[in-house]
Symmetry: C2
C-alpha cells in the first residue's frame, strides 16, 4: 500500500462521520484549501470521461447576497416561511425534522455571511436544456461527493443544496454562465460552528437485496 500523508484521515472515518454541516463560521478559508476541494472533486468519474464539471467559488459579498436571496425563495417555496409547512419533511421523526428545519433556516438567514459558496456546474457543447441536465447528473454528483468528503477531511463544514437553483436563468445571470452551462448544486463551505459527528442511516438490510428486489 502506498505511503499516506501523515495527517490524512482514513477513507471510512471520513465517510461515516460526514454529517451535513449548515451552521458555519464567517471566518475566511485559505484559498489553497478551496482549490484543493475543487481538485478533489475533479478526481471523480464522469460519463465517457468527459470531465465537463465546472466549479465556481463565490466569495464576493454582493454575489453571495444575490444567491442568498434565491436560496430564501427556494427554501420558502419548499418548507414555507419560518419553516411553517409542517408537511415538508414527512418522512422524518418530529425531533429530527425540527433539528433539520432549524439548521436550514439558520443557513437561509446567514448564507451571505458564509465565506465560500461553491456552485457545481457542467459545461456542454450546446445550449443546455432540462433533458441534457437530467442525462448528465451522474457526471457531476460524484464530484460533489468527493468535495464533501474532502471538506470533512480538511476540517471544513459543508452541505449540498439545490433549493437556490430552481430558477436556472436567474442563477446564470448572477454567475455569468454562458448558455452552454448549467448549475446543479450549491455547497456553502466554512469552518463549522457545531461538531462533526456520525450520520444515522437505515440498516443495510432495509436498503439492499441480492439478485432482485422482490424475491
Amino acid at each position: 500500500m502506498t505511503q499516506k500523508a501523515a495527517q490524512e484521515m482514513g477513507i471510512f472515518e471520513v465517510m461515516y462521520n460526514n454529517r451535513a454541516m449548515r451552521r458555519l463560521d464567517s471566518r475566511e478559508i485559505p484559498e489553497d484549501m478551496l482549490v484543493k476541494l475543487i481538485e478533489a472533486a475533479s478526481q471523480a468519474p464522469s460519463g465517457s470521461n468527459m470531465q465537463n464539471g465546472r466549479w465556481i467559488i463565490v466569495r464576493d459579498p454582493t454575489i453571495k447576497q444575490r444567491l442568498a436571496e434565491l436560496n430564501r425563495a427556494g427554501v420558502e417555496a419548499y418548507i414555507g416561511p419560518q419553516g411553517s409547512n409542517s408537511g415538508g419533511l414527512p418522512h422524518q421523526s418530529e425531533d429530527k425534522r425540527q433539528r433539520m428545519l432549524k439548521a436550514v433556516m439558520w443557513q437561509m438567514e446567514h448564507l451571505h455571511e458564509i465565506p465560500a459558496i461553491i456552485i457545481a456546474c457542467m459545461e456542454f457543447e450546446q445550449k443546455v436544456d432540462s433533458a441534457t441536465m437530467a442525462r448528465s447528473a451522474g457526471s457531476i454528483w460524484p464530484g460533489v461527493q468527493n468535495l464533501l468528503l474532502a471538506a470533512r477531511a480538511m476540517g471544513l463544514g459543508a452541505a449540498p443544496t439545490t433549493l437556490a437553483l430552481a430558477r436556472q436563468s436567474a442563477v446564470a445571470e448572477i454567475l455569468n454562465l454562458p448558455e452552454t452551462m448549467a448549475a446543479f448544486c450549491l455547497i456553502p463551505v466554512g469552518y463549522p460552528l457545531g461538531n462533526f459527528g456520525p450520520v444515522s442511516r437505515k440498516p443495510v438490510a432495509d436498503i439492499m437485496r441480492f439478485d432482485g428486489w422482490s424475491n
Copy 2:
C-alpha cells in the same frame, strides 16, 4: 482526530488513485465485503435526508447473463459493434480513446463472468416517471461515488456505467423492481486484473473560477 483503523487507506490517496477498473477477475467476493460497499454507499447524503437509495447485488449467473445482454445492446448503440463508431468519444486523444474502448469491449464480453454486478436504484412513493428520476439523481450518485471509493479502499475494482439501463422496463423485469423503483447506475465489481493507478484530469485552472464564469 479520531483514531483510524490500522489498514484504512487515506481519503485523498483513495480519491486520487481511483481509475475506472473494467477488467475484473471472476473470483468470488466475500459477502461481507459486498455488504460493506452498500453500507458505505448509504452514508452519502440524499435530498431532505430521504435515504431512498436501494441497492441490488446480482450474483445469480442467469440474471447476470440477462444484464450482460442489455449492456451489449447499450454499448453497441453507443459505440457500435466492436467499437466501430470512431466518433463515439471525440473528446479523447486517439490513444486514450482506444484504451477506453478496449476496456469497454472487454467488459461487454465478460460482464456475465464478473462476480458481482451492483445496481444503484431509488425507491419513490409513487410510480416513477422520467421527471422524478431527473429530479432525484443527486440523491443516488453521491452514494455511487462512496461505493466506488470504498471498493478501491478494499482492493476491489469497479466502474459505473449506465449503458445497460436505457430500457428501464427491461431492467425492472429482470430485477423484479416494483413500479415505484428505478435503476440509475450499474457497477460491476471484482478483484482487478490490471493495476490500480492515478487518474489524469484537466488542470484545476481550466475547471474553476471565482465569483462567476465569464469574468
